[in-house]
Symmetry: C2
Amino acid sequence: MRLINLSTNVSRAISCRSLTTIATSEPSKPEMKTKFPGPKTATMKNEMSKVHQNASTRAFFDYEKSFGNYVVDADGNKMLDVYMQISSLPLGYNHPELIALAKDPRIITSLVSRPALGSFPRTDFADMVKNSLISVAPKGLSEVQTMLCGTSANENALKTAFIYYSAQKRGGKPPTAEDLASCMKQQLPGTPKWTVLAFNGAFHGRSLAMLSCTRSKAIHKVDIPAHDWPISPFPRYKYPLEKNIDYNKKQDKDCLAHIAEQFKLRKAKGEDIAAVIIEPIQSEGGDHHASAEFFKGLQKITKENGSVFIVDEVQTGGGPTGTFWCHEQWGLETPPDIVVFSKKMISGGYYYSPALKVNEGYRIFNTWMGDPTKLVVLEKVVKVIKEQGLVKQAKDVGDFLKSGIANIQSSTDNIQNLRGVGTYVAFDLPTSALRDKFIEHSCNLGLHVGGCGDNSIRFRPALVYEKKHAEITLDIINQAIKKL
Amino acid sequence: MRLINLSTNVSRAISCRSLTTIATSEPSKPEMKTKFPGPKTATMKNEMSKVHQNASTRAFFDYEKSFGNYVVDADGNKMLDVYMQISSLPLGYNHPELIALAKDPRIITSLVSRPALGSFPRTDFADMVKNSLISVAPKGLSEVQTMLCGTSANENALKTAFIYYSAQKRGGKPPTAEDLASCMKQQLPGTPKWTVLAFNGAFHGRSLAMLSCTRSKAIHKVDIPAHDWPISPFPRYKYPLEKNIDYNKKQDKDCLAHIAEQFKLRKAKGEDIAAVIIEPIQSEGGDHHASAEFFKGLQKITKENGSVFIVDEVQTGGGPTGTFWCHEQWGLETPPDIVVFSKKMISGGYYYSPALKVNEGYRIFNTWMGDPTKLVVLEKVVKVIKEQGLVKQAKDVGDFLKSGIANIQSSTDNIQNLRGVGTYVAFDLPTSALRDKFIEHSCNLGLHVGGCGDNSIRFRPALVYEKKHAEITLDIINQAIKKL
């Protein structure tokens, strides 16, 4: 068998015509050439629609020309991006240390000779996992399962919880012959009636089971059958927090009481709540926060019922809240049972506590079970985050951004309920229409920002977002608010 | 903004220490150094288990040293691979035309500046889709939706069916205010009770909803709650087909009658069957085939009931059956409503008929909705398949393989029910234990082969599998059978 050095191979290849250029620096400020989205986006959307449904397409981006905190769209508009592909790019666009990975043979072999990871991992797979996911594991959780996206990670977290809960009910024993026979007919006892408790306003993905936990917007859910699973309220605080202490404490108390009641009601019906799934900050649903006391109380109830406590950090994980994992801020005495990630973590997946490890083959399984190319990228992302102190930077720049918005707020009624940790900042406008107008003005002033919930603005910059970017952001917020 | 030519960037990078070597040719025959799996796999499995559950791990592979039809494991065993990462590598390992993609800037930018495809596609995304998926679209289907894997594709195919079916029930009108309000509580009418009909022995993935359609093995399903959806029998033929015509025709007839009955029963309960999902060949469940007449009859019943006909070609698609899509062999008068793919297609996703296009935003949506790096690879895969006539080759080499196995069969009782189209060949052994023993012998003789169902062997070579590989395969089958 002949072997070839990749460098020769790539060197030969790169003389080829198809090569283009990739940006290596940011513009000093936004620069708009057309309205956003512009005419080229409109043409491309029409063209794309002939071969691929695209009702949600907002703009076409030129990913080779984008760099750092700045995205360049099809019309050549250069925008400061504080939405960052729905919060999924940790280091912004085309970070030089990541572009250098083009040389890494693990990328190209894993891409073109993709392993069925559950059966045939790469010889270096354990190292890949250690150098990436394990090096930033939440305290108390030292094992992980990779998946392809947040939704598949959440699906498998639920399965892990059901498997664990069923085994507990059997006194730790494996499924019986009756369990195995009845599950093929989807009947009791092999197919249990266990349920999952999730919250009003939650977002956990859009597969059928995850939609049964998701209650952020009706258009996501309508016409799709659902599991009849319990729904509890998530606290809805008044801001500023320091002026609404009693009201907010009562929110916590009422929500916890509702949750405890659901456990009782479902147990009485033989529909035990096997797992509780919750976001540290309800993001898609409108950036709703809850107190450390609420989460501690929730963990306590969950534990008392022998149920699995799943923290969905798909959007909050990876540093933007000023700690690597948002749940670190709660001061839990024991870790969550499962912590789910995706987005800024490049790979989907979940950390699990040792008690939940599934030791029987093919129960947590699929063909790809993740993607090694993403772990190679994450390895480098984690290195850059640590070397450059980017989590601390997110905290500091986030504080600067929030206090800047507070200043603007003092002279307008259109900014309400300012809230956030790190750069994970949000505020509300009085109505949906005003919120949408604010986004339109901001984008046309060169700030690419996103909304969430009914009338909120959410900031989701990359971790390379610095004070100078926050200053431009504040300037544009100020202008956009004045235009309302 | 500065721009840099990628060739400079990569050239600079490739001088770096971390570069290793990638194989560029096949060995002439298998070469075993240890038992399979060997001692290095055992050590690595133990090491991996400290950080990542791996109960299903069979062997660690050296993906840089593997090439074409040959995989090299951690212990240096060189095996002819007719399982190919659970049928997911179309051109085998490290195909030179794919390795050359290391130079393509679309790969590295899409990897490190990954788009949220549903909102912000690349400016060249429509071209990527046209040059890859659309260039091999099943007859009559000219639009596609990319997803990350087969399971997420199936989940979204079901959602598409539910949305379509609900709209038909409303006379084509959008959801009412009552629909939108009630779905947030997961109640009628916004959350319908529509069901999906799938088959005994089927495999459609392992998310909760897809597990409700999957009935291949109990260990996949046990302890996981399921939707109460109808199950019909899939024909179980006797072989050889030409000697069991009447029996097999009766199978078709009985199964179709059962299906028609399910439509009636569910409609009477207000649990209309909104979609039927079926594999052209039940693969995971044991390589069960059905006749063109059966599939035509199934499409007819589905159509008469206003239900959506979903063909899951995740494992059959992409050429191995001797036609690019297996369902081409049925001679349907109108195309299936949805055709789902993944595995050999590199990207997950589904083709849909124009009537099923979802024109409202955020109903078929998630953050990534696919991965452009996979489309760049598929573009090249399709080019190689067409240039080299690999679908025709799969047919011819498959015929050679099957007739060779038929020869071996004539002198043993241990090969039963030989069946297949193209290289998608299978046979049964008398028991599970004998099947497992056969796999063990074959692997230790250097043929990496996989099982399916209770006691079947399935052949899933890459499309670059030639007559010379089939000859080695036959030689090893012969030896392994003699060792039983």
